[in-house]
Amino acid sequence: MKSMFLIAINYMREQRWPIFVLLLWILLLAFLGLVANIPREREELLFIFKQVAVYIVVFSIFFGGSAIYNERKTRRILAVLSKAVGRQQYLSGLVLGVTLASALFCISLGITGSWTLGPGGFPILQVWYLMVDVIAACMLAGTVALMFSTFLNPFFGASATAVMLLGIPAIASRVISPAWLNVLPVYSLTAGVMKASFGMPRGANGFVVALAVAETIAFWVLAARIFAYVDIAVAVE
């Protein structure tokens, strides 16, 4: 458990610059909240809020997709896995790191959103429900990307993740039933956030969030199974 947290915190520190850049977006929203006439420009503020929320999901794919590749490329993974750290533990640390990074954004965005959208009439509780949706989407997207990153480079890993998270639900919802849009609920969770408005501040769908968490665990197990067979000392291409 301790190793997992150490790896997660270390991962966050390694990603400090992308995290910082994303936090700048939230800072921009906070700045606009300061200078804008909130009741009059509330729609614009909500748009930026939703935009930043989607960025977080996209970034979590990049975080997950590059985590193992970078560690293998720099060969830093060898020193870590030469200790009493199992590969499953190592992956858990990375999943936790991606989740913590996303959670950091979401909490910052939630605070800024409550402060900027609240006075415009958006229920503050709904802001936090939306953040739960975003965290769930980030966890699942990051873990799927991490699974692909065990055997693909970041570009192909991120592409495969995008195809899987958008393609499979789209095909399943057309071929089987629209309810199957939730089969890999990253799209449906993100779309729910994007559809939120002052008229209909949609809250998180508990079932879909639970499904995302369950699938995150399933993909984490799958990633660990695949990663157990990877020759980590072999140079990545």
Partner: protein
């Protein structure tokens, strides 16, 4: 004595895309490293030394066979708590040295004041106490290698697996590491050491294995390997170099090797020629000579010194 590290007929093949040529990095490799010894692991570049070490650490899976480390199969996670590993190209996070050593110690389950004390101790042992608070990103390669050694030693391991630990070190630091390895052996630790610095290996290793093209080419006690095969090196004066095959004159003496079975006859011949024997010692070979003999497959051409000398004509 129990084996600390055993390679039990392990093989590793690298394959890229289907249909492409496969590369056999390690072929039915069998070696047993006894507890409490320093075992030198030699071989030219690409011989499979690092592959063998990575297999032992569980970084990769064997194509065939397996092995045991401290009594457990390769890759056993908890066993690594008792192992220290240093890779060939040290790659560490950019933090200060003290933090890094504590980070790697914590990954091995260490903690609290014990970890802090041990981290300070190993950094001091490696002459890094003054730089403990500096970011390793600003370190020279030699210093980085010393931090790498510090993280390998922080858990006071029973088995040290070191892949070229002194390749970037200056002579002073090499002596430091050599003394460190010898004191670790005195404390009952086992060291599995890969190096291209053959003189270092000759000085510290109890046994040596030479790997060539993924196959074990030679293994034995260092002293036994260095003994010239039944040869005596004779140094004499007041005789002509041409009297004995392979003899060479240098600094007023004549130096040559003869088989031990003809040693007595050779002495008598020297005296008969009016010469004087300065010394007669069992001929020794350098590890470099043996290494070249094994890896080039042409021992005589590769051996420029005494071991290459022809037998006496007597």
């Amino acid at each position: 004595m129990a084996a600390a590290l055993e390679f039990l007929g392990i093989s590793k093949e690298y394959r890229s895309l289907p249909g492409r040529r496969r590369l056999i990095a390690l072929d039915d490799f069998r070696v047993s490293v006894e507890a409490g010894e320093i075992f030198g692991f030699l071989g030219p570049n690409g011989a499979g030394k690092s592959t063998a070490m990575h297999l032992a650490m569980g970084f990769m899976r064997a194509s065939r066979g397996g092995g045991r480390m401290l009594g457990y199969r390769f890759g056993h996670v908890k066993t690594r708590r008792r192992v220290g590993f240093l890779s060939e190209n040290v790659a560490l996070y950019y933090r200060n040295a003290d933090f890094l050593v504590r980070f790697y110690g914590a990954l091995n389950g260490m903690g609290g004041s014990h970890l802090a004390r041990r981290a300070a101790e190993v950094l001091q042992l490696l002459g890094l106490q003054a730089d403990a608070k500096r970011n390793v990103g600003k370190f020279s390669r030699g210093m980085l290698q010393r931090v790498g050694l510090a993280q390998a030693l922080v858990n006071d391991p029973d088995l040290l697996i070191l892949d070229e630990p002194t390749s970037a070190l200056d002579p002073q630091a090499r002596v430091l590491v050599r003394e460190l390895l010898l004191s670790a052996r005195a404390a009952g630790k086992t060291i599995f050491l890969s190096s291209h610095l053959l003189s270092e290996v000759e000085l510290v290793c109890d046994r040596v294995a030479i790997l060539n093209h993924g196959k074990l080419a030679r293994v034995g006690r260092t002293g036994d390997l260095l003994k010239g095969a039944g040869q005596t090196e004779i140094v004499a004066r007041n005789i002509a170099a041409g009297e004995f095959a392979g003899a060479r004159a240098e600094n007023g003496v004549v130096r040559f090797c003869v088989g031990q079975d003809v040693q007595r006859e050779t002495f008598e011949r020297i005296w008969k020629l009016g010469g004087e024997i300065v010394s007669a010692n069992p001929a020794t070979r350098s590890l470099e000579e043996i290494f070249l003999e094994v890896t080039t497959g042409n021992g005589k051409a590769a051996m420029p010194t005494s071991a290459n000398a022809a037998r006496g004509s007597a």
